[in-house]
């Protein structure tokens, strides 16, 4: 099941440049929350802080508190690898392991963690591919075809299946459909809608219509600050802050 995420006074830097300033927000479980804002506003940095991907950049650091259910993401003794297992991530460009089969792509995370039970792996691979709405398209080629042989939209759903295989609580998506055609984009958006039943979804998007279509809540970031965070319909019809209104109506950005 999805879990709640509580962010308190989160700050992040790249070297001396502060990329996030005092972000505080509560993300509800089993909902999709969209993060919008112009390029460089810190939205990708924000989601990367949620699963400690941010610190993989040289010179990058973060301060503040992120709680995912009962886990203190930046607590002492918490291993980043455990955080990332519970908080999966899907990136803008589909990045399947190119030489691995579809099956191996999905099961890679589990096998890396020493999971060897073949029968259980079969079950998890099927379940993950079904959850990612890809099973029917690839079930006959699981071990014959490589991840790279799939279309862009299928590759992205494969990456989603790979992220789901380790049974995370949260799924972070950084522009998951921006490199896809409209049909593949619709499939990903439908998928996000279904995934909310079992996961908490946080999606970074440049496409405001996409945010409006898939997310119940939307956060607007500008210059590393959280300007407004509210129900999506409120943000897109009557935003409270002039800067939000100016951005979503295309008056700047």
């Amino acid at each position: 099941m999805g879990v709640d995420i509580k962010v308190e006074r989160l700050n992040a830097w790249f070297g001396k440049n502060q990329a996030l300033h005092e972000i505080t927000m509560d993300i509800l479980p089993n909902h999709a929350t969209a993060i919008i804002g112009p390029s460089g506003c810190g939205k990708s940095t924000f989601v990367r802080c949620l699963n400690r991907m941010h610190e993989t950049h040289p010179d990058a650091r973060a301060e503040g508190r992120v709680r995912v259910s009962d886990m203190d993401v930046y607590g002492d003794g918490v291993a980043p690898v455990d955080v990332r297992r519970r908080i999966g991530m899907v990136f803008q460009k589909p990045n399947p392991f190119p030489s691995m089969s579809i099956y191996d792509n999905v099961s890679a995370g589990l096998r890396l963690n020493g999971f060897r039970n073949r029968k259980k792996l079969d079950v998890i691979v099927e379940k993950s591919l079904r959850s990612a709405a890809l099973w029917d398209e690839v079930k006959d080629d699981l071990k014959k075809k490589s991840g790279a042989s799939l279309s862009g939209g299928q590759q992205q759903r494969l990456c989603i299946a790979r992220a789901l295989a380790v049974e995370p609580d949260v799924l972070l998506m950084d522009e998951p459909a921006s490199a896809l055609d409209p049909i593949s984009t619709s499939k990903i958006e439908d998928l996000i809608f279904e995934l909310k039943a079992n996961y908490t979804v946080v999606i970074v998007t440049h496409n405001m219509q996409q945010a409006a279509r898939v997310a119940e809540f939307t956060a607007f970031f500008l210059l590393g600050k959280l300007i407004e965070f509210d129900k999506t319909e409120k943000i897109f019809t009557t935003p409270a802050d002039k800067r939000t209104e100016d951005y979503i109506t295309g008056r700047f950005g």
Binding site: F236, T237, T244, E245, T249
Partner: protein, 220 residues
């Protein structure tokens, strides 16, 4: 400023709606003038002008739907387009009320002039003034001015109620004036509807400018 073409489109829509508003307002003024002076050529002018208003309504709807489909407006722009579509329909209905009044005047002209206890000119001045003021609120993006329009609707409603009572009495007491009184009653009713449309327009201006729904006294 980005999305220049889109914002030019919104500006064009605003201009067209104002022209349409001017036509609707003029139609009511002409119809009432025709009532006061029993001016039949003026009545026919009102009937003729309705075609222009109807054509204008269709054009505005087309532009608005195109902008919705092509530009996916958000926030204040979305509220603006939503309001324009509704105001457009209300203005077209104002034009219809002017036609209804002109038709009553044509009917009344077949009978001798009767002295009737209803001040149509005063009622028209308030109702038409409300249309004017609601359009001014639209031009100025002034929700406070629009609020004043809402408050004046009660005055027109009261005059209409009084007209109903007094004209009913005329019908009961003087059968030779029944037809004239009935026509005047319908004209009063038409003007009351004009004021209602002005109220709707004012509510839409408030929704556009403030994002607040004040219809039906804000009851959801």
């Amino acid at each position: 400023m980005t999305r220049t073409r889109f914002h030019q489109g919104l500006e064009e829509l605003k201009q067209r709606l104002l022209i349409m508003g001017g036509l609707a307002e003029q139609a009511v003024d002409r119809a009432v003038q025709a009532y006061v002076t029993r001016d039949l050529p003026m009545c026919h002018k009102v009937l003729e002008d309705e075609k222009t208003i109807n054509a204008s309504e269709r054009e505005i709807d087309e532009i608005a739907v195109d902008l919705l489909a092509m530009q996916q407006p958000m926030a204040v722009d979305l509220r603006f387009l939503f309001s324009v579509i509704k105001i457009n329909a209300d203005l077209e209905r104002v034009g219809d009320q002017a036609v209804n009044i002109a038709e009553r005047v044509i009917d009344m002209s077949k009978f001798a002039v009767a002295e009737l206890p209803v001040d149509i000119a005063r009622m028209a001045s308030i109702a038409s003034g409300m249309v004017h003021q609601s359009l001014e609120a639209f031009i100025e993006e002034d929700a406070d001015l629009a609020q004043q329009v809402l408050e004046r609707d009660d005055i027109v409603d009261a005059i209409n109620r009084d007209a109903f009572e007094s004209l009913t009495q005329v019908m009961q007491s003087d059968s030779s004036s029944t037809r004239q009184a009935l026509d005047a009653l319908i004209v009063a009713r038409n003007l009351e509807r004009v004021a209602d449309h002005a109220t709707n327009i004012a509510e839409d201006v408030i929704f556009w400018v403030r994002g607040a729904d004040v219809r039906h006294h804000g009851v959801s």
